[in-house]
Homo-oligomer: 574 residues x 2
């Protein structure tokens, strides 16, 4: 591509509403423009990157045996009524009426359409397993679209759906897809983690998210520093470093702790490390007779409660809810800031201690008496009747649940998600096949999504500096830029540039020849902003010496290379 025929649309300044680096850089580098809130036009530079990502995703899906299809964006309401989601799905599902007044929606996902296709086209177990994918525009009417194409309303997804006669077959394809996703992100060249995830609103039994690690990510991911273990922080199992409590060495002492309503205040006042304190929270529960009651949760002072884990415990109300202050004062006789485990059982309150709290000794807790705390507490001696459960978020330094290494926590951007849907949709839409014995069986399904447009933004979040974007080679808009100094005036430069341009293109490289009548500074800045990995400067001075000036975008390394070695040198850098 000759720059004189190209649309750069680079900008010096970021739009005021762009708060994350990828959004700022995509606008500044002339990759995208907002048409309306959450709706973007992809300009040539942006679309070139997008198409490279798309091609890798398509190729790896095909390599994994998935067949490409394409379903409509506009979907009839009837199918969503069959699955029950026409009513259940919130306002993100953009509903509309056609000219005849019939109900449709813009597809935020395609489970209904594909399950309808499967029930019509798949009749026998012999056709299974079947794995179908599409790369297609989706629409989710986000309340607050933000971060550019990271959370836009219209976006492009690769979504795949697999169909199976039983769970084993689903598990096999799930593993194939897991590997295909790793291949995709490896090929693109991203630092990512497949993490165990919650299945969320799509439903189903088992799922992994694929996260690109970046400080601007919206999710916390816990992973091991020594193994493959990685999980969404809500799901990561929290293990105690100790297996049992040390023997008691202190006696219980009641201490007046005025104005100490928080754990940190108590620890400071008593000059105790916060890890020697516990916090006790009262939440709503149900007793054996399904009557409303209060349950006490005890955590080490520096740990945070994990509501998702708590909700899964029998006898606790879901969704998780704290007890009212009034109920606490009536049931226990003190304000919430002074609660502790000792004596609660006697008041008929069930106690659940987190694993790490349960192995503490000589610890401090509320005295169940306003403005008083107890020190020197020991479970077995002072408060022996309690349960133990995992009810906290993991923290860095925790042992990894798989027994290898310790937990590190980083932020991630979700770019892929694979689910074992099970039979949920197939059951709702009665998608059955005949098995070996001629009996109708409801199919098992998997679904596998990748945010194609989001990958472009996530790649930037992980790879940029103060000059612009640092693309991984696989998805850079151009492989190399040839910057011509005085292309219009120097015949030697012009000839050399045209020759290099043709030679590099003949090698299959995507080449930008900057032949514009612009100052060198403008050309260098554009080249660095849009993140072209390699740059060759062609000027009269160098040509007299027989050299070209090479610069590597990511290392910043700059060197003169002999003209005749240029092509081989560039190829060796790829």
């Amino acid at each position: 591509m000759r720059a004189s025929n190209y649309l750069f649309s680079t900008l010096r300044n970021s739009p005021t509403d762009a708060v994350v680096a990828s959004h700022q850089l995509m606008v500044r580098a002339g990759m995208i423009r907002q048409v309306s809130k959450g709706l973007y036009t992809w300009l040539p530079t942006g679309l070139k990157v997008f198409r490279k990502v798309e091609a890798i995703v398509r190729e790896e899906m095909q390599n994994a045996g998935s067949l490409e299809v394409s379903m409509p964006i506009v979907q009839p309401a009837e199918l969503w009524e069959e699955s029950g989601r026409w009513k259940k799905y919130g306002a993100e599902l953009l509903r509309l009426k056609d000219r005849h007044g019939r109900d449709f929606c813009l597809g935020p996902t395609h489970e209904e359409v594909i399950t309808d296709l499967a029930r019509n086209e798949i009749t026998s177990y012999k056709q299974l397993p079947l794995n179908l994918f599409q790369i297609q525009t989706k629409f989710r009417d986000e309340v607050r679209p933000r971060f550019g194409v990271m959370r836009s309303r219209e976006f492009c997804m690769k979504d795949a759906y697999s169909f199976h006669v039983n769970e084993e077959s689903l598990q096999e394809t799930y593993e194939i897809m897991h590997q295909a996703y790793c291949n995709i992100f490896d090929r693109i060249g991203l630092d990512y983690r497949p993490v165990l995830a919650d299945t969320g609103s799509i439903g189903g039994a088992y799922s992994h998210e694929f996260h690109v690690l970046a400080d601007s990510g919206e999710d916390d991911i816990a992973f091991s520093d020594a193994s493959d273990f990685a999980a969404n922080i809500e799901l990561a199992e929290a293990i105690s470093l100790k297996t049992a409590a040390d023997p008691a060495t202190q006696e219980v002492e009641e201490i007046f702790t005025p104005d100490c309503k928080t754990i940190s205040k108590v620890a400071e006042f008593l000059k105790l490390d916060v890890t020697k304190t516990v916090k006790t929270m009262l939440v709503k529960g149900l007793d054996e007779n399904e009557q409303a009651t209060i349950v006490a949760l005890v955590l080490r002072g520096d740990h945070n409660i994990n509501e998702i884990k708590v909700e899964k415990i029998a006898g606790i109300i879901s969704p998780f809810e704290f007890a009212n202050e009034q109920d606490i004062i009536e049931g226990i006789g003190c304000q919430p800031g002074s609660i502790g485990p000792k004596g609660l059982k006697e008041k008929g309150i069930r106690i659940i201690a987190d694993r790490s709290a349960a192995v503490m000794s000589d610890f401090c807790a509320g005295a169940n008496k306003d403005d008083y705390h107890l020190t020197g507490l020991n479970w077995s001696r002072d408060c022996a009747d309690f349960e133990v459960a995992d009810i906290r978020n993991v923290v860095e330094g925790d042992p990894s649940p798989d027994g290898a290494g310790t937990i590190v926590i980083k932020r991630g951007i979700e770019v892929g998600h694979i689910f074992q849907l099970g039979q949920q949709y197939a059951e709702a839409l009665k998608a059955t096949v005949l098995d070996e014995n001629g009996k109708a069986k409801i199919m098992h399904m998997g679904c596998y999504g990748i945010g194609v447009s989001r990958i472009v933004a996530a790649a930037i979040e992980q790879n940029f500096d103060d000059k612009g974007i640092l693309w991984p080679a696989s998805i850079a808009p151009f492989d190399i830029a040839i910057i011509a100094m005085n292309y219009d005036k120097s015949e030697a430069v012009r000839e050399e540039c045209d020759k290099l341009y043709n030679e590099l293109k003949a090698q299959g490289l995507d080449v930008l020849l900057d032949d514009r009548k612009e100052r060198p500074g403008v050309k260098f800045a554009d080249c660095e902003l849009i993140g072209i990995p390699h740059r060759l400067v062609v000027g009269d001075k160098g040509l007299e010496k027989g050299t070209l000036e090479y610069k590597n975008r990511s290392s910043g390394e700059n060197q003169d290379i002999p003209r005749e070695e240029a092509i081989n040198f560039i190829l060796s850098q790829k």
Copy 2:
């Protein structure tokens, strides 16, 4: 691709609502499935063809210097209000509201969005000309979607838009696009014609449609049998074979013609050739004082009126409207079936004769008296005061307007359309650039569309037989099928098939290996139905002789070829 891992979804019968061959065959060949009226899912076989068409279109657009972008499907109402089309565009524009109640539409075309982009990104004449294209989903809420993907509601278009500082530049790009379109349809391998066209509702000055010739086409195209001339039948100029009338040889005679209300009845009754008669039609017009009046149009008996041509004549009401019967009876004194030119002028009625009618002699016409006709009429002697204009449709055998050859009429399917939009949209959206003198100028625009999904259907309409589709090689879903006889039972067959499969794939061919446990008849039928151009049958019998059985889909030619020559033979057939 191994057939055992593929989704054929072929059917024996056509859906009852499919009336054209392409719709029937696309459903039967497992290419598409209807999700809702005018909304289709593309299955693997269909999408493979679609992607090949898309790739050719993209490559040729890039070769022609157009830059790819991608605009959103959901478009804000504001832009359509600026262009004036929010109100003007009919119910085909699907309007919708987002969760905040703001107005949007599903883009049936993208003039507004691209012009908005251009006014923001293009500031100087130095950036021009600029040509941007996208390959994208469009939505038109057709009242009566039909013919499968030929006229569906959701479909894929390649639309391009060019921007210019003046008309000359627009004309240059228009010609480049005209050539690019020819390259696209040549490469796909279709019999097509670029035809002069009406600009229709998009507006603008000059346009060509690209039609694939097929009996099932919805448009009549007139083209020369000896030159490049081709035009939509409404636009083709109708030339008279004769330049002047022969001298009169007959006297005028008034004949009683009872019950002869039509030209064919009159000709039959009088034993005259219909080309010796004229028909006279009265339409609404305006006189010099803008008062309502009646105008007489005279055509040769076998010719048909062209309303678009008539509307362009000064003094005739547009849209074209016939005079009321009451006005005719009052103004002329007879029923519409007995009108003729002689005597009309005396009644103050303007007469316009078609070019071919104007050179007739000794002809027959209505006598302006119920149940009477005149024979032996001659213009100069009997009715000298009349105008001449082109007011009829061309017919086969007419001279071509470019002077070379004669007109042939065929039916066509519109697959592409290029327009010179001029300044219409740029003016409405105030899209200006600074010219060489620093003065703001409104840009000139061109727009260029190709129906990507429609090409797939049009290619079938032009290429099918009673067994199925006959794809042009460039867009066939597979280049070649290897049909294995007893793949599961014969080790020799299995080895040979796998070897051939890998060898042909290594040559870059898209190969289908039919390894299914199906009867040979089923495999042959599927292969012919989905239209794979080349077929090799591998069976034990042949292998014993060292041969494979080759069949060409379009010629039907069948031959045994030695095993060792198979690869070269196939490559030579491509």
